[in-house]
């Protein structure tokens, strides 16, 4: 396979408008020492790359760029790995086109 140029998701998210609900993330990762396969899958499956590994090898979520698709809920909620709610009314991504 030929090498693929790195896709910078943060550049894509920069096009979008958000109203961030500071201090009230709508998605939370359950505390863990070793991440489950489901949590690890989110590192790649999340289209906004909200999930990242920290230095200790645990999965962390930063919801500021979340586009509220629900993919992580479908993958990670059944195992209890994450808690998923919609943002409070008016907060989150504000699509201009949708």
């Amino acid at each position: 396979m030929n090498a693929e140029p790195l896709v910078r998701v943060e550049d894509k998210l920069y096009y979008n408008r958000y109203l961030v609900d500071v201090g009230r993330p709508h998605v939370k990762v359950r505390a863990h020492t070793t991440p489950s396969p489901q949590l690890l899958a989110l590192l790649k499956a999340c289209p906004a790359r909200c999930y990242e590994l920290n230095d200790e090898g645990q999965v962390e979520v930063t919801v500021d760029g979340c586009i509220e698709c629900g993919t992580c809920r479908v993958i990670g909620e059944p195992t209890g790995d994450i808690e998923w709610s919609y943002p409070r009314g008016g907060y989150g991504v504000l699509f201009k086109f949708g």
């Binding site: 693929e4 140029p5 896709v7 998701v9 894509k12 998210l13 096009y15 979008n16 109203l19 489901q38 899958a41 790649k44 499956a45 289209p47 906004a48 790359r49 586009i67 509220e68 698709c69 629900g70 993919t71 809920r73 479908v74 993958i75 909620e77 059944p78 998923w84 709610s85 919609y86 943002p87 409070r88 009314g89 008016g90 989150g92 991504v93 504000l94 699509f95 201009k96 086109f97 949708g98």
Partner: protein
């Protein structure tokens, strides 16, 4: 403060919710509609195609005032490998008709307009309000909702759950299961802006004519998925979606797939020089007929994507959403006018009416196709597109090889890749699932 009691509460202001709220309000019912976005449309993501027939049943004169992009005169299907596409193209002057059949739209704009019609019809529309929980009585009957805006419950005789594919309320209340990873696709999309004339020149369009390209093949890297390109007035909606289970299994990234699709030699020239103004993602119900949950219960009904009503074969969803929302509302208003209570038994009228409509009939027709596609994705989305592309190249490339030999080579490549049993089996299974 909302102390009053409503005839019906509609959760969500997408196609299903707006259709339901509009129909209920028009029939004189006291309706409260709740939407978590800053306005109706600001959380709604779709390709998007609007189906006029179903829209006309709600707002007959919508063409005069709705924000429409282009009416479709052409449909292209592309079967792609990494360097080619084998296409089927249908274009007809018949689609340049007085009342066109399909339009491209931009959901945030269209839904905002749709919502204004819901308000005009007399419904109370409350935006920036997330419904957090259903309110139920001691017997479990749904009697209203809780929101994140104020304490206490808001009561209604019936709650219409039009909360979308990722509807939390119904799942939390145990009315239906959370969609499973192999029953929903994740699609990502970008809006590419270009001057109108450029779009018209690149797609061979005149005036408000529009076009759709649907693409499948190696672009989904063996996963069950499709790419799409829709021409709007001054922008192109471009995206790709695959089953969530496939993303989970393969470790492919949605944005990697999207970028790969954009760089395909058949696609890149269409969007060259464009300015991207938005990146969005959305889940699409793909489970078909067999994934439809319970549609009604004590004091509630569910419509649209929340009920997984999506025809994956024809890429139709918004029309199923608006039709199910409308039919739910019609069933409710029939009960109301007869003075019947909103019990599960009485609300089964909604399912009966929906069963008689194209919504359930179409989904039933293709009931076996999702599983066939999902379990044979390598063959249908990777092997066959590659084989067909090579066969086509073999057919058109002139290199002095006798034609009989060429045909033999093509046939051999198919048998080698899938075996005779495999080829006949695939054809048989596909035909059986389609009919």
């Amino acid at each position: 403060m909302i102390d009053e009691r409503f005839d019906a509460i509609v959760v969500g202001a997408g196609m299903a919710g707006n259709a339901a709220a509009l129909t209920l309000a028009k029939r004189g019912m006291k309706v409260l509609q709740l939407e978590r976005g800053e306005y109706a449309g600001s959380k709604n993501v779709q390709g998007a195609i609007l189906y006029a027939d179903m829209m006309e049943k709600l707002i007959p004169a919508f063409r005069d005032e709705a924000p429409l992009e282009r009416h479709l005169v052409e449909q292209r299907f592309w079967m792609m490998d990494d360097r080619s596409h084998l296409g089927m193209q249908y274009r007809s002057e018949d689609f340049n008709e007085e009342r066109p059949n399909r339009y491209t739209i931009i959901r945030a704009q269209f839904d905002k307009w749709f919502s204004s019609k819901v308000r005009e019809a007399g419904a109370t529309v409350l935006c920036e309000t997330t419904v957090t929980e259903l309110a139920r009585d001691d017997h479990g009957k749904v009697i209203g909702i809780h929101t994140d805006r104020r304490d206490g419950e808001i009561h209604a005789d019936v709650v219409v759950l039009a909360e979308g594919v990722n509807g939390l309320l119904g799942t939390r209340a145990g009315l239906r299961a959370r969609p499973e990873p192999d029953k929903v696709a994740l699609a990502v999309k970008e809006m590419h802006f270009l001057p109108r004339e450029t779009i018209e020149a690149r797609f061979n369009l005149e005036g408000d004519e529009g076009l759709v390209i649907e693409a499948a093949g190696t672009i989904s890297r063996g996963m069950t998925g499709m790419g799409f390109i829709y021409a709007n007035k001054e922008c192109i909606s471009l995206g790709i979606g695959c089953l969530v289970a496939d993303f989970q299994r393969t470790g492919e990234t949605p944005y990697g797939l999207l970028d790969h699709f954009k760089r395909h030699p058949s696609v890149a020239p269409l969007i060259a020089g464009s300015e991207v103004k938005e990146y969005s993602a959305h889940l699409i119900p793909e489970g078909g007929y067999k994934a439809i949950p319970q549609l009604y219960g004590e004091g509630w009904v569910v419509a649209g994507d929340a009920a997984q009503l999506n025809n994956a074969v024809h890429r139709e969803g918004s029309n199923l959403a608006m039709t199910s929302g409308r039919i739910a509302a019609e069933a409710i208003s029939q009960l109301k006018s007869r003075g019947d209570r909103m019990t599960a038994k009485n609300l089964s009228l909604y399912k009966k009416m929906l069963d008689d409509s194209f919504v359930i009939k179409d989904l039933k027709k293709y009931k076996d196709l999702p599983i066939l596609m999902h379990t044979n994705s390598q063959n249908f989305f990777l092997t066959y597109p590659q084989l067909l592309s090579r066969a086509m190249q073999n057919f058109v490339r002139v290199d002095g090889t006798p034609k009989a030999e060429k045909e033999k080579m093509t046939l051999k490549s198919f048998v080698k890749a899938r075996s005779w049993t495999g080829l006949f089996g695939d054809a048989f299974r596909f035909a059986r699932a389609w009919r």
